[in-house]
């Protein structure tokens, strides 16, 4: 959509300059040179963005000796796929995948459900305490989650969510709790755009309060749901701090990120195998992003401008 617009602009620029006069041609040369510089700048930046990933992939295919002779070259003459098998087994990647998928899915579903129910009720009804909830959530936005790492750990310990598989619950609860304020406000903005008559008439037709939410309001805020789903996916899949607190000492329950970092502490010099692990950890997110990049970018910019 963007690109067609801009290419039209280019065509018009060219038309304007068809009439040749010496003054103009010099200007045109300057402009061509400027365009060249622009592309050069962008290409250099793209190379800087992509090169580390390509290097990671090539390192992941080397053997232990050629890692130390590669010197930044991307070419691998004799790919060593065994590295992937090694990391897959020694860092218990399948288990880590399962844990990560479980935590990510749970956080997505719970965040969407809790925040959409709350913002529906807040935008629809004026009950005593409504202002208090809105105000409390607003204050939460100012409290950095990092400040609460210590106390929430002991809250979870009191619940018995520390030290075994139940630590997964702790990670999910802390993450979902931390996501409430921002996402409630994001959703409120969307619920407000729904005409109130729609709710009232649905209710007159015999729809319940909850039914109006589930069958009428929720489907109408699908763009917000998509945004929050993607942001949550990205945030939770990549999370390091909270899983580190609860899962680092539990090999069976680590997420991918934690499993890879813990593995690297243990086998510091096996860079080719660590690179294979990094590729395994990064590929799912990069794939999801490439397929859904429009939604990602729309969601993130919306989060920044409207949140």
């Amino acid at each position: 959509m963007m690109s067609t617009e801009t290419s039209q602009l280019n065509l018009r620029d060219l038309e304007l300059e068809v009439a040749v006069d010496p003054h103009k041609t010099r200007k045109q040369l300057g402009r061509t040179f400027g365009t060249f510089l622009k592309y050069l700048l962008l290409l250099v930046y793209m190379a800087i963005c992509v090169y580390p990933f390509l290097w990671m992939i090539s390192t992941s295919l080397r053997d232990q000796r050629s890692v130390f002779t590669a010197g930044g070259s991307l070419w691998v003459s004799d790919p060593n796929w065994q590295n992937y098998v090694d990391i897959w087994e020694s860092a218990n990647i399948p288990r880590a995948f399962a844990n990560t998928i479980f935590i990510t899915a749970a956080c997505m579903v719970l965040t969407i459900l809790t925040t959409s129910m709350t913002s529906y009720a807040l935008s629809r009804s004026n009950f005593p305490g409504r202002q208090l909830i809105l105000f409390s959530l607003l204050v939460t936005l100012l409290v950095p989650g990092e400040m609460l790492i210590i106390p929430t750990f002991y809250v979870n310990r009191a619940f018995g969510f520390v030290g075994d598989g139940k630590a997964l619950i702790a990670v999910i609860l802390v993450t979902v709790a931390g996501a409430q304020a921002f996402n409630v406000y994001l959703m409120l903005g969307h619920f407000r755009t729904i005409p109130r008559d729609l709710f009232d008439s649905a209710e007159l037709d015999g729809e319940t309060y909850f039914g109006t939410y589930w069958r009428i309001a929720f489907p109408l805020i699908r763009p917000a749901v998509a945004t929050i789903t993607l942001l949550t996916f990205m945030g939770v899949w990549n999370a390091y701090l909270i899983p580190l607190v609860y899962l680092a000492p539990l090999p069976e329950f680590q997420t991918l990120t934690i499993a890879l970092v813990q593995y690297s502490k243990q086998f510091q010099t096996l860079y080719h195998i660590m690179a294979a692990g990094a590729v395994i950890g990064l590929v799912p997110v990069i794939l999801v992003f490439i397929f859904l990049q429009r939604f990602f970018i729309r969601g993130l910019t919306e989060g920044a401008t409207k949140g």
Binding site: F53, I149, I150, V285
Partner: protein, 331 residues
């Protein structure tokens, strides 16, 4: 993220309850379902936000190792805070964090703006460039950092040193992440690499809201590129710039992942940030940080947590205040 929301925007209650038959019932009959639907959020808020704020304030007054029962811990009043104020390592962590936040704004945001302006200047393939420039942003900081430990190492075959030596910039390998003089700058550089794309996308989104006819008019009037930038683009992106600075600040002051994985806060405490310093006094994550204590001091760690919370709050509010001053000046 949305700490940019001004405090004054608590939505007004413009919600009339006019559905027939609702009048005269008890609050519970009228709003029971609404309360039920808010319940999960409210419980999460009370258990994982409100109570922990009070709890961390309380534990910051204790001499507590986090292992014994909190009820057995010795109450020492404000001693932890007295210690915090005099703790030169803490202030070094504060300095490191603030310096990191400032560099991220001063270096990363202008670069991002420049790239966005170039992308918005009638280039072909904007979507492609934008997608590729965004890839670092969506990748896990911890996992990427893992790969970068070798990338920047002085070992033979490590790319960064090899390039610099081939270009003749240095003549022997440098342990970029292992030396005091370079570790902080290297990690900051990696963070800029990782985060630049998102700010580029933010600026690009703002620039794309500039109406086309403004550009046409500028062209008719023969405005130079510089004039066009200063008089058309800058006014449009100014409000969003405030948001971008706030987001960048709020994120930078909480920085943890890059430093935890790349340097663990070392060498010495030269790359320790506020959150890393707090971690040092807990037993979380199994250590590996610079100067991690063998005996956790959760009471003192709680005071550090309050300290970092207050500093983040102060910086963000200060920046909001500057914004509001600028808004007033701009009319």
């Amino acid at each position: 993220m949305a700490s940019s929301t001004p405090i004054t925007t608590v939505p007004r209650s413009n919600v009339p309850d006019t559905v027939a038959g609702r009048r005269g019932k008890s609050i519970w009959q009228r709003h029971g379902m609404a309360y039920l639907m808010c319940m999960p959020t409210v419980i999460l808020f009370l258990v994982f936000m409100a109570f922990p704020v009070g709890y961390v304030l309380y534990t910051s007054l204790l001499k507590w190792n986090g292992i014994q029962s909190v009820l057995d811990a010795q109450f020492i009043g404000l001693d932890n805070y007295a210690r915090l104020v005099q703790d030169s390592l803490w202030w070094q962590a504060v300095r490191n964090t603030l310096l990191y936040a400032i560099i991220k704004i001063v270096v990363e945001l202008p670069l991002a703006l420049m790239l966005a302006v170039v992308l918005n200047s009638g280039i072909r393939g904007v979507v492609g460039f934008r997608t590729i420039g965004f890839i670092p942003v969506i990748t896990s900081i911890a996992v990427v950092s893992l790969a970068f430990t070798f990338f920047f190492s002085p070992l033979p075959g490590a790319p960064f040193n090899t390039f610099l030596i081939e270009l003749g910039i240095i003549d022997r390998p440098i342990a970029f992440l292992g030396e005091r003089a370079t570790a902080f700058w290297t990690v900051t550089g990696i963070a800029i690499w990782h985060d630049l794309g998102i700010n580029m996308v933010f600026f690009l989104a703002a620039l794309q809201t500039v109406p086309r006819d403004l550009y046409d008019a500028a062209q008719v009037d023969g405005a130079s590129v510089r004039q066009r930038f200063l008089h058309i683009e800058v006014p449009v992106i100014r409000p969003l710039t405030a948001v971008i600075v706030t987001l960048s600040l709020a994120g930078s002051l909480k920085v943890f992942d890059y430093f935890a994985v790349l340097t663990g806060g070392g060498p010495g405490f030269s790359t320790t940030t506020m959150v890393l310093y707090m971690f040092r006094y807990t037993s979380f994550g199994g250590g590996g940080l610079a100067g991690a204590t063998s005996q956790p001091e959760v009471g003192y760690g709680s005071a550090v947590a309050i300290g970092l919370g207050l500093i983040i709050l102060a910086v963000v509010l200060f920046q909001q205040w500057i914004n509001s001053l600028q808004d007033k000046r701009a009319g």
